[in-house]
Subunit: 366 residues, 2 copies
Amino acid sequence: MVADTYAARRAGSEMAAKGRVTIREVAERAGVSVATVSRVLSGNYPVPPATRTRVMRAAQALDYVANAHARALVGGGRKMVAVVLRQVTSPFYAQVAEGVEAEAAARGWLCLVGTTGGDPQRELEIVQLMREEGARLVILVGGVVEDDAYRERVAHYAQALDSSGARLVLCGRQAPDPDIPALVVEFDNEAGAHALTGHLLSAGHRRIVFLGGLPGNTALDARVAGYRAALAQHGLPPEAAQVVDCGLGRAAGHRAMAELLDGGTPEFTAVFAGDDMVAAGALRAIAEAGLRVPDDISVVGYNDIPLAEDFNPPLTTVRTPAEELGRAAVRIALRDPEHAAGAHHVLGTHIVVRDSVAAPPPGRAR
Amino acid sequence: MVADTYAARRAGSEMAAKGRVTIREVAERAGVSVATVSRVLSGNYPVPPATRTRVMRAAQALDYVANAHARALVGGGRKMVAVVLRQVTSPFYAQVAEGVEAEAAARGWLCLVGTTGGDPQRELEIVQLMREEGARLVILVGGVVEDDAYRERVAHYAQALDSSGARLVLCGRQAPDPDIPALVVEFDNEAGAHALTGHLLSAGHRRIVFLGGLPGNTALDARVAGYRAALAQHGLPPEAAQVVDCGLGRAAGHRAMAELLDGGTPEFTAVFAGDDMVAAGALRAIAEAGLRVPDDISVVGYNDIPLAEDFNPPLTTVRTPAEELGRAAVRIALRDPEHAAGAHHVLGTHIVVRDSVAAPPPGRAR
DNA sequence: TTGAAAGCGCTAACAT
DNA sequence: ATGTTAGCGCTTTCAA
């Protein structure tokens, strides 16, 4: 009596071996050598139609799939790009990842995704893993607090990757040293923030708080710099700048805004949120405080995530073409590998005007 | 005269070979055999501290990283799980992917992500790729139109994966046949839709349109079924059900809603959107038509994506714990591999009440 | 305690 | 036109 388990059934027909079907089994079934099978499947060598068909049939019948590891071992590695980001659920990061994946797939490259949760230690592990896996392109996405440890880490990644023929791309963060063999692709955050602050200023606002600073984070620091520069250019004193370093995320924006509103009607008339998620939190806190946007307070965000248009009210923000950032990263890195090292590309951004900005309320202007 | 290029510099110190550092180089530097190095690095074999240190130092100095392909070839493959989904920018899918990634990472597994854009052909290619790559777990995420071609495809995936010792998990979609060696983890869409429709009914609505049907898609079909069942249970005739098969996505929801509103004030008083993105589009169209939510029309969505709370008004919807879906998929599949095949797990959902539902306007009730 | 050697599945010379 | 064979980098017996 034999139990009719999957294992038992599997062992039955086709004489299927326990593990995967190998090229040798295909060769046997087709009555040729493994070399011939390899040639047929690789398709890079002339093989007479007759044997070709025999081999294909055998492969099909056995449902053979090549072992990518064995192939990579002898062929010098598969074409694979690795994206490393904080989290995939951030709309902005997700779009970048999608861009990378799309561009990679279009060129027949594989895409590996790793998330760090913002932990440098984890980032290091992931990069190591990607190296082991033989990724030829490692793309680090998103801003980070740039301290000495970071600089050293990135220098090490770049050197290590470079010495094994792989390439490092920094997406939305800077290279600690221009001599490092890494390609940088990012947005001009300072210019974007400058323009956006200008938009607020033009509407008549003078007391604008920047919500979501993150000292050391290059992306946020650049936005803060643009904000300050715009204020200064408009003739306002340095003290006019009010930066709340609450960090990013909807929850942080909500909490910080609630605190700001705690003491009754605030002095400021506009809020520059570090990104759209912060803006979402701020919007919510303002509504909870019984204030209206943009009548009582104007709010702007950054990134123009897909749902920014659905906020209440639709959010005025800066469009940073995230998917294009991802696509550009792989396109540039792959187009001209040699020249890419040390290169620095900046992608343009522009303001998207919607309904979250109005003139400050008469009583509180100035 | 020698150009001081990176290549030249690299060739200089350390005698670094052109490619990656291999175990042999480490062995040479440490003055031991490759076997010893392997034993030290694997750590699964007693090695005297003295040699151990020597080897570690050599590996460190050379910045050695093992070749995962070679390791996989001899060691039977790395622990890797593959997630295949339509796109990463959908908030719902992104959350599922994050859950999978998190649970996999926590167990030391690697996570490969592939996107299909909804193309069955591409899905097939990706699954093939994952097989080549030696994924031990392939997770297909999201609903699909379930036709004969689909059934055949999935049966083939499952059989092929199973015969090479890998496992197939269907996340949010059904197995075409319970005998197929695949694990299914999904939500009870019918129950969720039933409850949500009941919520609308309790508020006094009788003319509710379902926006976002997608005939053949199991997830949507189940929601429609729940919607119809609730209507029937409330004593309404079958004709009371009005299903608009516009498919999913914000754009589709917007377009379909705009059309519905084209002929002036509509007959229906509430909208059941197929998911939150459709709801976002519908909300927008309603606002553009000069109508208010929930005063003129009530709207509900499905999935409770992270930003549903920020819609205008905050959206009443069904919470489907997407990240937990992803985590559960890998947890269950890994916990009891043998028993997982053919198993079917259903995760609970619940309504999240916010501000997008009110009683129908007096003049239009009934 | 350590080394030598046999493969893992595949490709690419090199033979025939 | 097709077969034989030498590795790719690593782990793991089997000896010493």
